[in-house]
């Protein structure tokens, strides 16, 4: 379980010389193997929260428990972050290379994962030869390949069209289940949040950011059901 307690984080405001408080006494718990969706408007601190968890962003105060080994954290950003000088297979194996895994083993692991994601035929492609959706899927494969236990996904499908996004959402659900991941998925797409999440945490837009509501959405997978629509309306109401 990941436990974030009394988290505080401020950024200096370069325009006014003051500081902007993003989090003040922010608390959040993520259960093991849960798929938590953090939902909220742009600029509310969703990405900052993920960066704090990965350790690439510092925080002013608070405690984060449950992240003993940062090498077990996988990260997929909204931008294409594949290394353009590496083939798809080498991009997927990149995290393992950093962990010192030998070439044969990491290539095997990467091949297996590409197969599971239906990307085998692209293994010798370079990133510029892939579509946006494929690139994000390969980024996801790279994050999973490094034996991640915690997967952080920062609006990974925000720039993709509806059809591709739907397909990739299913892949996320499949990999999350098969690899026993604890996933934190950030999005501002209502349907995406409801479809993927075991639980949704809705964040406020104001500074500091607060949790305005939580929804248990386990089992809500039918996008055209009444229940799905009802939850969408409830989530929308939080921001009215």
């Amino acid at each position: 379980m990941i436990k974030i307690a009394r988290l505080s984080k401020s950024f200096p405001d370069e325009n006014h010389g003051d500081s902007v408080c993003v989090f003040n006494n922010f608390n959040l718990q993520i259960a093991s193997k849960e798929l938590l969706v953090i939902f909220g408007p742009s600029g509310c601190g969703k990405s900052t929260l993920l960066n704090i968890i990965t350790g690439t962003e510092s925080y002013d105060d608070g405690i984060i428990n449950g992240l003993q080994d940062t090498k077990r954290i996988g990260f997929v950003s909204q931008h294409n972050s594949l290394l353009p000088w590496l083939k798809v297979i080498d991009n997927v194996a990149f995290g393992l290379k950093l962990q010192g895994v030998n070439k044969v083993q990491r290539q095997q692991a990467a091949h297996k994962l590409l197969e599971e994601m239906g990307l085998t035929r692209y293994s010798d492609f370079y990133p510029h030869q892939l579509s946006g959706g494929m690139s994000q899927l390969v980024s996801f494969a790279r994050a999973v390949a490094c034996r991640a236990e915690i997967m952080l996904m920062d609006e990974p499908f925000s720039s993709l069209d509806f059809i591709v996004r739907n397909k990739l959402q299913d892949t996320v659900l499949k990999i999350h289940k098969n690899w026993n991941l604890t996933t934190i998925f950030v999005t501002h797409q209502l349907d995406e949040a409801l479809y993927l999440a075991d639980r949704i945490v809705a964040l406020s837009a104001g500074n500091p950011t607060k949790i305005i509501s939580e929804f248990d959405t386990r089992g809500v997978k039918d996008k055209i059901s009444e229940h799905f629509y009802h939850l969408q309306c409830q989530l929308l109401k939080c921001y009215q």
Binding site: T54, G55, T56, T70, K71, I73, G74, F75, S77, H79, N80, S81, L83, P84, W85, L86, F94, G95, K97, L98, Q99, F125, Y126, P127, H128, Q129, L130, S131, G133, M134, R142, C146, L152
Partner: protein, 257 residues
Amino acid sequence: MKSQSSLCNFLWRNSLIFALLGFWLVIGWLGWINEVFIPSLPEVVRNTFELLFTAGLWVHIFSSLSVILAGFSLSVFIAVPVGVIMGSYARVNSALQNFIELIRPISPLALYPLFIFLFGIGFMSKLAIVFWVSWIPLLFNTIAGVQRISERYLHIAKTLGATRTQMLIEIVFPAIIPWVITGMRLAMGSALLVIIAAEMIGSNRGIGFFILNASYTFKIVDLYGGIIVIAIIGILINAVFLMWEKRTQISSHRKIL
């Protein structure tokens, strides 16, 4: 159809060269030029082939190329690591920048007498001048390459647990390769220019010396031959670096899906 279009493209791209060569050929036939100063094109071509098939010119070509290669390699080994450090650490960059700006505009030819004084006439002084002219584009291109590495790559490496050394080897070096190769191409061009001049000022070997010697002994056809050889070497070096540059630069336009 495709080969026809590539032939047309080739002819168009080299039209000015062909026009000038044609002009040279015609005025030679018509006898409009003084052949003492401007020999006819067929005579120059014939003589250049003759020079290339005698060991005499190759000694000078190898002499110039060996100095260029040595000075250029030295500048790569020094300028690239220094560029990486300067590009990575703003404080080191600010500490060295004024010094570099101070010495950068000094003409290498102005320093050549000093190099001769320090190292004597020969290989070392020429190596020094080639080094001097090569390190600048290499250093600046490397710094620019490091400073333009996408934050995304660094961020993703950090999240995957990369150490500082891994960051350098796996991210920084591969990312700056296109920049370094462009710097190498510019450096090589400058090195070729400066070595010819240096060999004319103080040397007893090299293409520059060969050309100057041809002018002193009034072998005008040899002089033209030397100039043509320089042009060919320049074109070949540039072509090799352009090919290398093209291979390393990633085209982001082609899609397969």
